[in-house]
Symmetry: C2
Subunit: 383 residues, 2 copies
Amino acid sequence: MQAHAHSASGQAGPRRPAEPGMALAEVETPALLVDRATLEANITAMASYLRSRAPGIRLRPHAKTHKSPDIARLQMAAGAVGVCCQTVAEAEAMVAAGIPDVLLSNQIADIRKAARLAALAGQARISVCVDDVAQIALLAAAARDADVTLHVLVEIDVGGHRCGVASPEAARDLALQIAKHSQLSFDGLQAYHGRAQHFRGYDERREAIASAARIARQAATLIRQTGLACETITGAGTGSFEHEAASGLYTELQCGSYVFMDADYARNRRGPNNELPDFGHALSLLTTVISAPTPERAVCDAGLKAMSLDSGPPSLARHPGLTFTGASDEHSTLTVETGPAPAIGTQLQLLPGHCDPTVAMHDWLVIHDNNVVAALWPVARGR
Amino acid sequence: MQAHAHSASGQAGPRRPAEPGMALAEVETPALLVDRATLEANITAMASYLRSRAPGIRLRPHAKTHKSPDIARLQMAAGAVGVCCQTVAEAEAMVAAGIPDVLLSNQIADIRKAARLAALAGQARISVCVDDVAQIALLAAAARDADVTLHVLVEIDVGGHRCGVASPEAARDLALQIAKHSQLSFDGLQAYHGRAQHFRGYDERREAIASAARIARQAATLIRQTGLACETITGAGTGSFEHEAASGLYTELQCGSYVFMDADYARNRRGPNNELPDFGHALSLLTTVISAPTPERAVCDAGLKAMSLDSGPPSLARHPGLTFTGASDEHSTLTVETGPAPAIGTQLQLLPGHCDPTVAMHDWLVIHDNNVVAALWPVARGR
């Protein structure tokens, strides 16, 4: 494996783009940078907001944003009750790092993945979502084989039209199915409206979450009428959490992107009172200008294999005068709108449009304090 | 590093989704499959086409498509003269695997990357592109320090408007600059028209490559008038190579995608004589249906972190009745147009819209013969 070599620390692992103590100018590009001060300010700001505005509501940040046990530990230290994960491999990384409470906010349809998840339940509190009896059967079998308890949430479609049962009645029926299994513990509802995170208008997001909460409330009421408790109503993301927090229904928020702050989320329009924390862009993609063939064009060494363009182009807010024209596998082409073209060798910092899939392309987060490398934190990008 | 564990072979490395001998149904998803018979047929078909249609032209396949030393070896065995790489890390992986001739079809603007490249020139013939004196200075310094010869091509912009000098005169001037350095050897021109690969119309592609060849021919003529040889004119890709092959100018073709065949390239319209090989889709993304909440919707476990959507959605040609609706980090949502919804647990094979950045998201290629896993080949996805 040429991609893996022995690092300065003596540990086998992917090639390291930098070492602690280096200036950013010494970092080999493309590399993902995390400004530690901004990261910590974002974590503190979210914790403070929830403490003052929604004191009874738990924060369970989504670790799919960062895939970083180091960042998860900072979130826990700031009061998070645990993390969400989107894959079993992420959950394995978080439990191995000592995170005591993990929600797999997703469905499992493979007995080996169910067994991997059950294996974690001996070390941490593990919960997982279902929207069909087929998944319940797999989880029950895996929990029985491992002699553990898995906590289970029924996912209900509250407008995202991805996973989730289609009606409150179906949610109730599935909760009753879970309750039949002695090694499964019914916890409540997953009621995540992913699409609402990216509705640009404030009122549009508010109305979408009001509708989501109505559907989830009906389901919770029907479930409680059967005698089952429905303690957890979990959902929300960085784009909409103020509305879930104000709903009087949600008990837990799953915001993830606030730690890094995507260029795309930053495009959402704010509400009339504008009381949300002003999350900063903690994540940037460091890239080098490798070609500047005309006064109007610069080409840098970060392309489709270093950043995801699914939610729009990266922001060039840190480099006024340059705009993004397009990307290929290992290049981005920039147009020089004003000022001189950057010289070959110039480093630029792009702000990714969508942090989560961008992080998943990299092996390391390069943590810096005031532009000096402080640490390299691994990204748990395995499957 | 949770992402790295000891595999069954005892070697440290990323988690393996399968082992040889398994049926595809046993492969943990999402995983990239390579149908060996189709892969080998594609490699053979390209070699045969060039032997019969363009016998003097060398094939130097682009390894950025597969990042796989194993596939590069198959290409060499079928007559390739070497490979192209887009990054120094890819070149390191190819040289370590014994590939004797590597062209870095890209610019370097970092002395450490130049030094890494020069270190390879002791083991293999290494060439690299430039479009500015700044890159020449770095390469000359690195070659001198390592006491090696680096072969250098001047990249000229023939219509792609990415890297490359803007005129034949500038190409000549840069060739003369290269010739001043005793440890750099001027080889010729990189004349790659990336955008033309994706022009849908046959005539449009033909005219774009005719224009590219005119520009490159002017540059070669000017260079030869100085007394320098200009032996290599290299370029082309899977979308346009029939035109470069017929140009009478190009000496070397860089096609990469033909080994896997992207869904996007398959959308190109063919010429009137339709003499091109009919490359098959050797690469597919194996995914599992994890949720089927309504009769019209299925959700599978391959999303933005398992495939790149930059060149359009994956093809569902292997699953008539299903269409692609959208993707999020770890999900794709499919619409059931006809027939019953696939049951939870059903495996599907998506054909990626763009293979190169999709491969770069994965650690392994799962090679299968008639749906039985034959081998896992590592992807050299490091930096």
